[in-house]
């Protein structure tokens, strides 16, 4: 048995929000007579933790404890529109909508508090559920008292609404792809290193260690963002070495219909994972946050494929890097890339120039 270890790295970027924008999210908030806060958002929580994140944003923006927030995303009769939980937009785009709704509600809350305290609203702030005069902290009224006053004294309902929308960047030059405005809400960045062990007799690749660094803008909840990065890591590992719907792609033969015929990563596949969170705040994100949940499975496959090269000297460029692909690559190891003039040409056998008809529209000329 011959085991070889190798390392590889990658660096990536990924946009937050729908490509070309045009994806609104809306939120609204009402304050109950006792000061407790109901947040209504249309964002589906698919496990990413958006219920928690948006509640945290609402709590801090209003200046009340997290425990005072109830969060309702349960139905379209009470919750306003959210384009959805995709495109890494639930924290940035939908979170911004909640932030704006909370800021709007806070403004109304301060107006009522201002009447009670006889202080201009702009001279008030809310800290830990109390409205306090800036510079004179002894002058204060609790948020529950403000809410009660709104309800029973002034006959008002304290609400806030907010919406976030970057207009659709529709104008894409069809020839050049140039756009006239940023086609994303933000961009985030990550780098990754992978260490693998390859058995050159069986072709089996084991990912031993992943180091990952993500610029998240701001970690609204560090544990939740770690969870996204770690979950993404194993999905990236699956992409790299385990999973495929069509084991004989492009053929559709032997497509498996059960867990027993599909290599989903299990706990025994878990490598060591080191997670480094960088916070370069985004100019427009809620509290500087960016969306990173999707890109979390992007950096591992190239880092792992490079580590396989480092270990055994062959490039496997079809995913996943199955034992079979490793053995087939090793059998052709001596062949190496084709050199023609200043060209170094890899993967002739996979290219359209080899597989497609010579009259095909799909051409990719290489060589001198």
């Amino acid at each position: 048995m011959a085991l070889h270890t190798g390392r590889g790295i990658s660096a990536i970027e990924y946009p937050t929000g729908m490509n070309q924008n045009g994806d609104p999210s809306q939120a609204w908030i009402k304050i109950k007579p006792d000061g407790r806060v109901d947040v209504f958002s249309g964002t589906s929580d698919i496990g990413n933790g958006s219920k928690t994140i948006q509640s945290q944003i609402a709590a801090d923006t209003l200046g009340v404890p997290y425990e005072w927030i109830t969060y309702d995303n349960s139905n379209t009769d009470s919750s306003p529109l959210c384009t959805g939980t995709f495109a890494s937009r639930a924290t940035f785009v939908a979170g911004n909508a909640v932030l704006k709704a909370a800021a709007n509600a806070k403004q109304k809350l301060l107006e009522i508090a201002g009447k009670e305290l006889e202080i201009a609203p702009e001279d008030l702030e809310i800290i830990d559920g109390e409205v306090i005069a800036k510079g004179s902290p002894q002058k204060k009224i609790s948020v529950p008292d403000v809410a009660a006053a709104a309800t029973w004294t002034y006959g008002e309902l304290i609400t806030g609404t907010g919406a976030q929308l970057n207009p659709y960047a529709a104008i894409v030059d069809p020839e050049t792809g140039r756009v006239d405005s940023p086609p994303h809400a933000a961009i985030s960045y990550a780098a990754c290193a992978a260490e693998v062990e390859v058995d050159d007799e069986t072709g089996e690749v084991r990912v031993e260690h992943l180091w990952q660094c993500f610029d998240v803008g701001r970690a609204i909840n560090p544990t939740l963002v770690e969870g996204q990065i770690q979950g993404g890591a194993l999905m990236g590992l699956g992409l790299a070495v385990l999973e495929e719907c069509y084991p004989y792609y492009p053929s559709v033969e032997h497509r498996g219909g059960e867990f027993g015929s599909y290599f989903v990563p299990g706990i025994k596949d878990l490598p060591k994972i080191d997670t480094i969170i960088l916070e370069n705040p985004s100019a427009d994100g809620p509290y500087g946050a960016k969306g990173i949940s999707e890109m979390a499975n992007n950096p591992q496959p190239p880092a792992i494929a490079t580590a396989v090269f480092d270990a055994i000297g062959v490039w496997v460029t079809e995913l996943p890097i199955t034992p079979e692909r490793v053995l087939r690559a090793l059998e052709r190891k001596e062949q190496g890339p084709r050199r023609e003039g200043k060209w170094t040409i890899f993967d002739d056998d996979l290219s359209v120039r080899t597989v497609a008809h010579e009259k095909s529209r799909f051409r990719f000329p290489v060589g001198a």
């Binding site: 969870g227 770690q230 059960e258 867990f259 027993g260 299990g266 706990i267 878990l270």
Partner: protein
């Protein structure tokens, strides 16, 4: 047929070839075991059968007369979380939550059987449980905390 679920005895009418999963979910209305695959492949339907973790989608009702079944509803409540539930909550061992009941019961059984279980034993006990969200990192942290607490 008699079946004791979470300490309550039921007279069950489901057909003998119905899987325990459907007895629990459709006849008894106990919904924590999930129909994640109904192929025995994912572990989302795992319950304890006489204390042993088993895939409820694989056991025909007719084979169970008199058995004692435990589901997540039977190990703790929101007010009084079982140690394993508290550990999963504290360590964010759950993201979408769909696989969580199966993981909880497999872990609960592991702790009963092997208090102070090591990493290899944990990996073995949870090997057949699929989680697509967490990458298992925080699940493992939760299980190690629960195992440590039991030791």
């Amino acid at each position: 047929m008699k079946l004791t679920v979470n300490g309550v005895e039921h007279e069950v009418e489901s057909h003998g070839l119905q899987p325990l999963l459907s007895v629990l979910r459709e006849e008894l209305g106990i919904t924590s075991p999930k129909a994640g695959c109904q192929q025995g492949g994912c572990g989302a339907c795992t319950v304890l059968v006489d204390g042993e973790p088993r895939r409820s989608c694989l056991i025909p009702a007719g084979a169970l007369n008199g058995a004692a079944i435990t589901t997540v509803e039977g190990i703790g409540t929101p007010e009084h979380l079982a140690p394993v539930q508290a550990a999963f909550h504290e360590h964010y061992g759950s993201q979408c939550g769909f696989c969580t009941p199966g993981f909880l019961l497999a872990t609960h059984a592991l702790i009963e059987r092997s208090p102070g279980a090591d990493r290899a034993q944990i990996d073995e006990a949870l090997a057949g449980h699929a989680c697509r969200c967490t990458g298992y990192v925080k699940i493992l942290e939760a299980v190690e905390a629960a195992v440590g607490g039991a030791k």
